[in-house]
Symmetry: C2
Subunit: 395 residues, 2 copies
Amino acid sequence: LDREDPHVVELFTPGPVDSPPYIMEALNRPVVHHRSPGFKAVYRDLAAKMKALLETTAPILVLASSGTGAMDAVVSNLFAEGDEVLVPVMGKFSARWVEICGTYGVRPHVIESQPGGSPEPGEIHAALSALPGAKGVLLTHCETSTGSLADLEAVSKSIADLETGGRVILKCADCVSSFCVDELRMEPWGLDAVITASQKGMVSPVGLSFVCLGERARERAGMLPPRNYYLDLRRYLESSEQEWTPFTPAVSIVYAAAQALGRILDIGLEEVWAWYRRAAGAVTLAVEAAGFDALARRQSGAVVAFRVGGLDAEALALRLEREHGIYLARGQGALRGRILRVSPLGKTRRKLAHFSDSLLRAVRGMPGAPEITDSTISDVHAKIENLLKGRDIWE
Amino acid sequence: LDREDPHVVELFTPGPVDSPPYIMEALNRPVVHHRSPGFKAVYRDLAAKMKALLETTAPILVLASSGTGAMDAVVSNLFAEGDEVLVPVMGKFSARWVEICGTYGVRPHVIESQPGGSPEPGEIHAALSALPGAKGVLLTHCETSTGSLADLEAVSKSIADLETGGRVILKCADCVSSFCVDELRMEPWGLDAVITASQKGMVSPVGLSFVCLGERARERAGMLPPRNYYLDLRRYLESSEQEWTPFTPAVSIVYAAAQALGRILDIGLEEVWAWYRRAAGAVTLAVEAAGFDALARRQSGAVVAFRVGGLDAEALALRLEREHGIYLARGQGALRGRILRVSPLGKTRRKLAHFSDSLLRAVRGMPGAPEITDSTISDVHAKIENLLKGRDIWE
């Protein structure tokens, strides 16, 4: 990596994101020791903010891991070998639930959506009705590989009537990329376990994941023997009562995350959700003007995936990177070479407009590209400026 | 935590450490995407430096976790349920090996040293001779709770003669606090698995741990079924061949760690080891002048633990914190209230002299303290300046 390269490339990826300057400032604060009263105050502050934003009263557990560590912890702490669970699969990240189940001998029943789709409440209800022994459903809010947003509220509420005769179906949701981006309400929606991570809506560095276990999930965890050590959530639950973590946490990232959550509370969470709806809309405007289709039928604010049609996806991505300083995420698995993904996480109006201009200019002149005139570019630019007018939340 | 407080407290703890400015600079670099060629270059650079410093040709696996995650990974990937292992316990961190074994049904045989002691090669040899089925020994290089340094070279070499008739005794070492601090040579000493973490000798933020598996350890891992998902080292081994990590890594901390390792290579690792021997010696001079005894019989450069005798440990620690801006680590478990711990990790000569002056001034006048004159303080100061003269490696 040539560090002397004056051409700075900015990540337009759905995490990690380039943190805004006031988050970097938090990272540079002197570290407090993780066993000191000072750290307890930081932890308490972070947990209180996160509970308010998640709409929950359940304890917040802080893990030094990527989001996958939190997914592993949910499966290995809430389900025993041989337990059946339902897993709606919408892409690579929801498929990871299935892989984790396999490792622990948990038996996943899969309902698969086409790329860009998301599970229908009716399907989930029917599947769980047909699986009277299933002890949980492993949901994915935003499927980061496609930008599809599941309707967690409808799914969760639709299956409430199945919980009769003492049956408990733990509703576990991967909200790694949706927390502080898409509408999410843990207790009102009846979610039992929610996980997220520091590098998405919290626009902080990678390094922390968060697990929030409601009462039914804590009861389940208390009944099962530990399956591993580092991710044994009982240890984190005990430590959270003392307002610290069982193992050394990434203190700097705790600062950064608390700083980001404070800003989101100041702005107002509903305004943040509305911003990301409009930001994803702005990206979609540019994508469609370039002749592409957005992949997701129900679009998350965290990432817009678009089909490149007959164009060479890698050539387009490299052109954006080298000529415009914009790094996009590629398609994964079967979608490799067929889509690109652009994330509005942490981006200002100016940066989103820069993406739009750059995409249209980069596409223009590529073999197989539609004609894109200067007036199309300025027309899209004006529409985006208009769509994003008002408070520029990450400015 | 009062962020407006002008009284800055500096950590003199054995990780996390306050990173020097040139490490903070690395943290503030624009993030590269963890699936881009740019990240491969960063990973390759870090791994090459770490291999050189560990004296190994084995692949370097990068985990987003604290050091405990790496310990968990060693136990759960290299030993099966029912396997016997030997664990020399010298304090809280080596005892953690025993706890992890318990979680996975691995059967630990414990040899315990008194606080401040470390395992004798003869004892280890005798114990492993008496356990012909034991498949490994879980060692701790620097026991961070006491500052004791085990003689890994002698221990490892002493048991080589037991590996006859196809018997393999995997020698696994927790070098979390000793890497880049105390002499450590993975291949020359015959170690099969070494772990470390970002926040100790690499003076970087908490967030990454590292596992290095030699050929015999990789073979063992390949023969066992996966026990967990996030810490399944087979995934990390496969990814390391492509020069990346299976799950999103803390990219900023990879930069910081690579920066620190580059500096250590520039200085010369033997000079770094020598520096820490002298730095721990300087701390010990101050501790003894204050009327205390260092706990460790074989002293690591990472942390000096000292018995406070009849003094109130917490009162002394608070005095150092409030009046001198120095935060010390406390005793843990049975040592709580009986010892304090000072770490020279990442400290300059000026800071170590500040510690010495502060400790002597803080002790003076405490109930039960010996008489400490101004001339004692300046005498110790002069000795420390003399001991640490020459290149100030963290300046």
